[in-house]
Amino acid sequence: MRLVTGVIKPFKLEDVKTALESFGVHGLTVSEVQGFGRQRGHTEVYRGAEYTVAFVPKVKIEVLVDDADALDIVEVIAKAAQTGSIGDGKVWSMPVDEVVRVRTGERGVEAL
């Protein structure tokens, strides 16, 4: 099993969710996060004084998937989240040792 994580622009969340659902993904976790990459922060102006806001708001989505689907799902997220401009975010996947469905106690691929 693998955990696919994407940090994306907040307004692309609906697109990514729709794309994942049509791929057949049954669930995902979403959190609001802040950070910066090459985009860096942005500036805001208050009464003529400029402030640099270092961390930009982003959305992080996490999906637990079967090994076989991992690369496809990375592609699905990357494609759905793309705008082509700076600050689109990143998607990565990493191995997962163990998964348990809390309600039933199922383990491994059964729990996905």
Binding site: Y46, G48, A49, Y51
Partner: protein
């Protein structure tokens, strides 16, 4: 005097205006509170509320007597019968005045208690205005002591100078606003003896509060991180709400200062509105040209700058003059608020940049664009005389100098006696939490707070648990 001489419509109107001016203070609290950082928003609001509480009591006990008691050489008033407002309960009436077109003077009678209540709100508001400058770092106890001292030795006398118009005895020498009516030998020195024009308090309220704010922050010192850390407003919708409430209440302030509901009051209403609107446009234009963005904080600040500037002038200019004063104040204040970053004094929420500068613009501009129909004295554009401008400048700088000097002494005194600045730890943690034992917002307390997640009821047996 005969109570039947009281004009009910005017009296009722001024009473409602008193309520409107009171509403400006919570409006100001939100205006300042939204601009402060979230860890200090309650402290910011409490400074305004405490000003209402303290000044109301002082006003009734002795403030009204000092401001509006029997004149003592134009510098201060005092009447022992006005301590505790004792003599006002007897249907005493105050002669209100309207300087109508062509210098025709109409007088109305107003219950003195209503006038005293109206003026109470001015006193409380003026003190509260200062609090914006000291945001994030002043000890709350020191603020309360400051309110007592400042109201007593700065506001009450200055209110006398500007608002205690002595009415001429029959045949007495007259001067000032509504020539031929105000006495030259009694009443506050600015309104009577000098004859400067200030309808609703550009000098006594705004220059006074702005100069005091400057003196107080020079003694108090800068916020930690001033000019290094971003100190962005934590809630701009609060700022807009506060500005809206101020704008609304300001009609009570300006129009109510005509002490009646007359044709002249209508002029004041319209001048107040159009000057404020022009100031919003002026401020936004500067922002667009200078920063590239028209901000909501700029619109709110422009509105307040315009309201401040038109306050002294609202009854002495025509619509063109009001628009000119509004535009000029929006532009001047948009530049003035950046001065603190260059000069290094930490006027946190720009009381100096908006109230001192806006008050100066409005007070002086009467001498430039004052309409001689209403000023009854020639201004620069109406008659080409510099005399009125000079008179206005004397009034403005006298209040500025007195307020700055006395406030500086008060601040040094409080600093020596009790300390005026919170400890470093409190400044970093937040005054809300450490002084008031409250915080404004519950952050992240949504679904995970409240202790154990175990459901209080057992699962109905009809539901199958799959395994």
């Amino acid at each position: 005097m005969d109570p039947e001489l009281i004009d009910g419509a005017n009296a009722g109107f001024v009473m409602v205006c008193a309520f409107l001016v009171l509403l400006m203070i919570p409006g100001l609290a939100f205006f300042y509170g939204g601009m402060s950082r979230s860890k200090n928003v309650l402290n910011m609001i409490m400074m305004s509320f405490s000003a209402i509480a303290i000044v109301s009591v002082l006003w009734v006990l002795y403030g009204y007597s000092l401001a509006f008691g029997t004149d003592r050489n134009g510098l201060i008033g005092f009447s022992s019968g006005l301590l505790g407002l004792t003599d006002l309960t007897d249907n005493a009436v105050f002669g209100a005045v309207e300087a109508g077109a062509d210098g025709v003077v109409n007088t109305y009678l107003l219950p003195d208690m209503i006038f005293a209540g109206f003026q109470l709100m001015f006193a409380a508001l003026t003190v509260a205005l200062i609090s914006g400058a000291v945001a994030d770092r002043m000890k709350f106890g020191a603020w309360m002591a400051f309110v007592v001292l400042w109201a007593s030795v700065v506001y009450f006398p200055v209110a006398h100078w500007v608002f205690a118009f002595g009415v001429a005895e029959e045949g007495g020498e007259a001067a000032g606003f509504a020539n031929g009516f105000f006495a030259a030998d009694t009443g506050g020195w600015i309104v009577n003896r000098l004859g400067a024009l200030d309808l609703a308090g550009g000098t006594a309220v705004h220059i006074n509060a702005g100069a005091a704010a400057l003196a107080l922050v020079l003694v108090l010192g800068r916020r930690r991180g001033f000019r290094k850390e971003p100190m962005r407003p934590h809630n701009l919708p609060f700022v807009m709400l506060g500005a809206g409430l101020l704008w609304f209440g300001w009609f009570g302030f300006n129009v109510g200062s005509t002490l009646g509901a007359t044709a002249y009051s209508g002029l004041v209403l319209m001048n107040t509105q159009v000057a404020t609107a022009a100031a919003v446009l002026g401020w936004l234009a500067i922002e667009k040209l200078r920063d590239g963005h028209m901000t909501s904080l700029g619109a709110a600040s422009g509105a307040v700058a315009g309201l401040v500037a038109i306050t002294p002038a609202c009854g002495f200019v025509n619509a063109y003059g009001a628009i000119a004063i509004g535009l000029l104040s929006g532009i001047a204040c948009a530049f003035a608020v950046t001065l603190k970053n260059r000069l290094g004094y930490d006027d946190a929420l720009d009381v100096v940049g908006v109230h001192l500068v806006g008050g100066m613009v409005g007070t002086l501009m009467i001498g430039v664009v004052g309409d001689s129909t209403h000023t009854l004295t020639d201004s620069l554009f109406f008659g080409g005389s510099l005399g009125l401008l000079g008179t206005q400048a004397i009034a403005a700088f006298a209040v500025l100098a007195y307020s700055f000097a006395v406030t500086f002494v008060i601040a040094l005194l409080l600093k020596a006696v009790m300390g005026i600045r919170v400890a470093d730890e409190e400044e970093i943690t937040g005054i809300d939490q450490m002084t008031h034992a409250e915080t404004a917002y519950e952050i992240g307390g949504g679904i995970t707070g409240g202790g154990s997640a175990t459901p209080p009821v057992t699962r109905p047996s009809s539901v199958e648990v799959s395994s």
